[in-house]
């Protein structure tokens, strides 16, 4: 209840906001911040809880986006179906990556996930139906649920998706699965010898994390009315999805939420006020600063402060 009442209230508040008459740009920017809440929470399930650092975030996001595109182009599927489809296909990609953990650990796993980006990007570049290298322009369908504009609707949908992602991530943290993932992050051998089915848990984490990353990427074609490979497979997704949990505090569900809200908003601000190129620098600098002075992120600070003031 301590989680659900505020969480539901915030989500409803955000959805309600989309019906108000404030500046459209706020929703356009807010969508990106909320998308990062989804992506960072999803990344944290595998990277934070299980300690498997996934650099392949752009691949999962793009699989979500392109699945949505194909569903829309081929069947005229509505947004919710696009999101579910994106999550499903990305979840299957998660399953494949999960099987990599059978043999690859640590940095070797991370490098393999980078390869996934390039493999899938090459596939998309050579696939005429989804526009190849030039991309596809999309005519958005009618807005539903009584929203004024499509962007407002997407903002509300992303708010709900954030709630779903954070709830799943929080549930996993406090469940047996989270306990097992934590154990295998500390020592895979000792976890096995404590009865933890490490492979199964790693695969579960990969599938759930992958599905949520895909769901987060699925609304992109509709959001931009356009999709092309270079931005869909952009490595900055990987950097952001990793930087946000690290800055917020890894291994706790609230960490990526804090990191995404903070860094996402800051990036949007910098993009508008200063330069769209500078926002990547902001992520980099903050990441370095946090790794050096607060390796446990903002949550680590809070914990240390609580211990200190006791």
């Amino acid at each position: 209840m301590k989680f659900w009442i505020p969480a539901l209230a915030i989500t409803l508040g955000l959805v309600g906001l989309a019906f108000s008459d404030i500046n459209e740009y706020l929703f356009f920017a807010g969508f990106v911040v909320l998308q990062f809440v989804v992506l960072a929470s999803a990344w944290n399930i595998l990277g934070g809880y299980a300690g498997y650092v996934n650099f392949g975030v752009p691949a999962f996001v793009a699989v979500g986006s392109y699945t949505a595109l194909v569903l829309f182009k081929a069947l005229g599927a509505p947004l919710l179906v696009q999101i579910l489809g994106g999550a499903l296909v990305s979840g299957v990609l998660g399953l494949c990556v999960g099987l990599l953990t059978l043999r690859l650990r640590g940095i070797f796993f991370s490098i393999a996930t980078v390869a996934v980006i390039f493999i899938l990007e090459t596939v998309v570049l050579n696939w005429r139906y989804v526009g190849g290298a030039t991309g596809v322009q999309i005519a958005r369908p009618e807005v539903s649920f009584g929203f004024e504009t499509y962007t407002r609707m997407l903002f509300a949908v992303m708010a709900v998706l954030s709630l779903v992602a954070v709830s799943i991530s929080r549930y996993l943290q406090y469940s047996h699965i989270g306990q097992g993932l934590r154990a295998l992050r500390d020592s895979e051998e000792a976890a096995e010898c404590s009865g933890v089915p490490t492979l199964r848990l790693k695969v579960i984490a990969c599938v759930v994390s992958g599905a949520l990353l895909g769901a987060g990427g699925a609304p992109m074609p509709m959001y931009l009315s356009f999709i092309e490979p270079a931005s869909s497979f952009n490595l900055s997704y990987a950097v952001s999805a990793l930087a946000m949990p690290i800055i917020g505090g890894i291994g706790h569900w609230a960490g990526p939420v804090i990191g995404a809200l903070l860094l996402g908003s800051l990036q949007q601000y910098v993009t508008v006020e200063i330069s769209s190129e500078l926002n990547v620098l902001v992520v980099g600098v903050l990441l370095v600063v946090f790794v050096v002075i607060a390796p446990d992120g903002i949550l680590g600070w809070v914990k240390a402060w609580k211990r200190f003031s006791k």
Binding site: H176, E189, S194
Partner: protein, 238 residues
């Protein structure tokens, strides 16, 4: 006496290197077995094959009459094979108590208050009661060794494999850990102890097996094995 563990014709290669060949060993229920041998003789490989950390290339491993050599490590833990590690592997981000909660949840299927009180009981037996809420990466070497044994015990094993649980410990600490192992054995747990401290091996083991270059070269009572000329040449260095 009833046989709890039966290893027969066990072989394990790493590339072209034969780590174990034709190792056969039967352990009786409730037995205290010492496993000795020079470094690189295959002791840890043997127990890695028994616990499931490695799969054997040849031969069979039967535990309680059941073939386990193709089962994964966590399945074997659930069947009752527990082990401690030569280099302690604590779940460093957890407290000592939380370390024990993992096998409780995943092997015994208990959690919450009941698991916590049982965990405290085990820690009490190990002399770790005051350390229950300490972060496990803050423990001293002897405390880590004890915690490894405590965590192994939380899985309620029938067979405990202790891989050099006394390595690097001082004299009095060796006796402490030895006392714990004797107590566990008195509760009916079969124990295989790998150890280089001969005094501990001699006082603990009912039977000693000596490995050299991946094969068993001696098997018998401690007194007989240490007098074996092959053992003396390969390991004891007389």
């Amino acid at each position: 006496m009833e046989t709890i563990l039966e290893v027969s014709g066990l072989g394990k290669n790493f590339g072209g290197f034969t780590a174990l060949s034709e190792v056969s060993l039967a352990v009786a229920s409730g037995e205290r077995l010492g496993l000795i041998g020079p470094n690189g003789s295959g002791k840890t490989t043997l127990i890695n094959c028994i616990s499931g950390a490695l799969f054997n290339d040849a031969g069979s491993i039967r535990f309680n009459g059941q073939e386990v050599s193709r089962k994964s490590a966590h399945e074997r833990t659930r069947l009752g094979i527990a082990r401690s590690f030569q280099i302690p592997r604590p779940f460093g981000s957890m407290t000592v108590l939380e370390n024990l909660m993992v096998p409780f949840a995943y092997v015994c299927g208990i959690s919450g208050k009941r698991a916590r009180s049982e965990a405290r009981e085990i820690l009490g037996h190990m002399g770790l009661a005051e350390k229950a809420d300490t972060q496990s990466n803050q423990l001293s070497q002897v405390e880590l060794r004890k915690m490894e044994l405590a965590r192994a015990m939380a899985a309620r094993p029938k067979l405990l494999v202790s891989d050099e649980a006394m390595a690097g410990l001082a004299g009095a600490e060796v006796d402490e850990v030895l006392k714990i192992l004797f107590e566990l054995n008195a509760q009916g747990i079969t124990i295989i102890m790998i150890e280089h401290i001969m005094q501990a091996v001699m006082s603990f083991s009912q039977r000693v097996v000596c490995l050299d270059a991946g094969s068993i070269i001696a098997d018998g009572t401690p007194e007989v094995v240490v007098k074996n000329p092959q053992v003396q040449r390969a390991y004891l260095g007389h």
